[in-house]
Point group: C2
Chain length 266, copies 2
C-alpha cells in the first residue's frame, strides 16, 4: 500500500503510530480489494472518448465475467457510439457503504479497451449482465444494443483516506472477491453495539495500541477486522487479523470469538 505524503500546511490531524507490533496485519491485496469492489454493485461510470477525443463520463450498469465488466449499451447513446469508434474505456466503481464522508468510500478504476464478446463468451457475458441487471431483459435483445467486455489492463484501488494502490491486470484477474465484506454489515454493527470491550482488547493486545481507550470496527474481510482506535495520542486505524483466512461468512462469528479470546489471553 502506498501512503502518500501530502503537502500539509501544518494543521492536519496527526495520526499516532502503534506502540507495539501489530500481531497479524494481513489484509486483502489491492487486487482482492478491487475484485471485491467490482462485485459489490452493478452500477458504475464509464469514461469513453468522443469523436473529438474529449473524455465523456456516463452512467452505466454492468455484470462481471471473471473480473471483466460486461456492458450492454445502445449505439444510439453517446457512449455506445464512442465505444464503436474507439474501444479505449475505463470504468469507475464506488462500493456501497455506510460512510457519511464520501472520500472514506472504497472506489476503483478499471481501464483498458472493450471488445464485442463472441461464441461461448457472448453467452457467458449475456448471462452475467442479466444476472447483475435483471431489468436488462427488456432491451438486451434490441438490435441497437450491444454487449461489450472491458479487457482490464490497469487497476487502481482507493480504500479511503491514504489507502490506495495499483494492481496488475494479472493479479486482478486471479483475485477473488472477498466472501466476508459484502455481508459483514450486521456483524460489524453487533460487534460495535454489544462487544465494545472486546474491540478495545483487540486494539490493545493485537493491534499495537496498548493505550487504546475505545475501538470501533469499521470493516471486515476474510483476513481480519479494521479497527478505528481512540487513544490519548489521537485516533488511528489498525488491524486485528484472523488466525487463518475465512472462506465463508458463516465463519465470521467464530473467528471474532477467537480474536477476542486471543486478545484476552495475551
Amino acid at each position: 500500500m502506498t501512503n502518500l505524503d501530502h503537502g500539509d500546511p501544518g494543521d492536519a490531524p496527526t495520526v499516532p503510530p502503534p506502540l507495539t507490533e501489530i500481531v497479524n496485519a494481513n489484509r486483502p491485496s489491492a487486487a482482492e480489494e478491487a475484485r471485491t469492489a467490482a462485485a459489490s454493485t452493478n452500477m458504475g461510470t464509464l469514461a469513453t472518448l468522443t469523436k473529438d477525443g474529449d473524455p465523456w463520463a456516463s452512467f452505466v450498469t454492468y455484470g462481471l465475467v471473471g473480473g471483466a465488466p460486461v456492458l450492454c449499451v445502445s449505439h444510439m447513446a453517446e457512449h455506445g457510439r464512442n465505444l464503436a469508434r474507439d474501444p479505449r474505456a475505463s470504468i469507475a466503481i464506488v462500493a456501497p457503504g455506510p460512510q457519511s464522508d464520501p472520500l472514506a468510500s472504497t472506489r476503483i478504476t478499471l481501464a483498458g479497451h472493450v471488445e464485442r464478446p463472441e461464441g461461448e463468451e457472448l453467452a457467458a457475458a449475456r448471462e452475467a449482465h442479466l444476472a447483475a441487471v435483471p431489468a436488462a431483459r427488456i432491451y438486451i435483445d434490441f438490435s441497437d444494443f450491444s454487449l461489450w467486455v472491458l479487457r482490464v489492463q490497469r487497476v487502481r484501488w482507493v480504500g479511503g483516506y491514504g489507502r490506495m494502490d495499483s494492481a496488475t491486470a494479472e493479479a486482478y484477474a486471479e483475485a477473488l472477491p472477498d466472501p466476508i465484506t459484502p455481508s459483514a454489515g450486521r456483524a460489524i454493527a453487533h460487534l460495535n453495539d454489544d462487544h465494545a470491550d472486546a474491540l478495545v482488547a483487540m486494539a490493545q493486545k493485537l493491534g499495537g495500541f496498548p493505550d487504546a481507550t475505545a475501538a470501533t470496527c469499521v470493516g471486515a474481510d476474510r483476513y481480519g477486522l479494521d479497527l478505528d482506535v481512540t487513544t490519548p495520542r489521537g485516533r488511528a486505524m489498525t488491524r486485528a487479523g484472523f488466525s487463518s483466512p475465512l472462506n465463508s461468512s458463516d465463519e465470521l462469528r467464530s473467528a471474532t470469538v477467537g480474536l477476542t479470546q486471543q486478545a484476552r489471553q495475551v
Copy 2:
C-alpha cells in the same frame, strides 16, 4: 424531450397512449433537470485524459458555483495530473433516488474544460466546495491540492427510461435547481399511502387516462407530479400539472390539494 425508437425485437412491453388530452403537461426543461441533479449530491465521476489520451474515470466530490462543478483534487492523484496536462473533462452525476432499477435513475453528464479559479472566483469556489464537502477542510489547503472549476460546454440529461435530452450551456447556466424535488420524498410517500384515490382521479381527469385503475406518484417538481398509471391497456407515465409553478416546498401541500379538487370537479 427526445423519445428514441429502439430496435424492438417484438416482445417489449407496449406503452398505452393517453386517450384524452393531458390538461397541463408542463415539466422542467432539460436544463432545469440537469441543474436539479447537479445540486442533489456532492459526488460524481470525472472523466479525464491520461498522458496517452486514454479516458480515465475516477470518483470525485464537488461543490457548485452557479451550475459549475468545483473540484478539489491532489496533483499526486492521477486525475489531478491529467487535468494539469489537459483541461478537457466531463463529470457524470447520478441523482440519489429510491429506484430499485438503476436505469430508472436520473443522471447527467456535464462536459467542458477545467480552469483554476482566481481572485473573487477562487474565494467563491473554495466556499462552495467546503459547503458541499465539509471533510475537505482537512486537505483543501494542502499544497498538493488545487481547486478547479469545470466550465460547462455540453449538458446531457437522462431522466430514466426514454426520457433524455441535451441542454445548451447557456440554458444550463441560467436554469435554477428545482425547489421541490430534493425534499419531496415524504410528501410523495404520503400521497401514495393516504391519497391513492386522489391520484387515480388526477390520472383519469387531468392525465389523459380515463381508464386508469391505479396511479402512483413517482416524482414531484415545481411544475407538477409524475404519475405511473395502470390501465387495462398497460402501464404508462403521465403528468398532473400545478396551476402555476411553485417556488418553495411549503407550497406543495396546497398545490396537491388544488390538483385533487380540480380532478374531482372536471
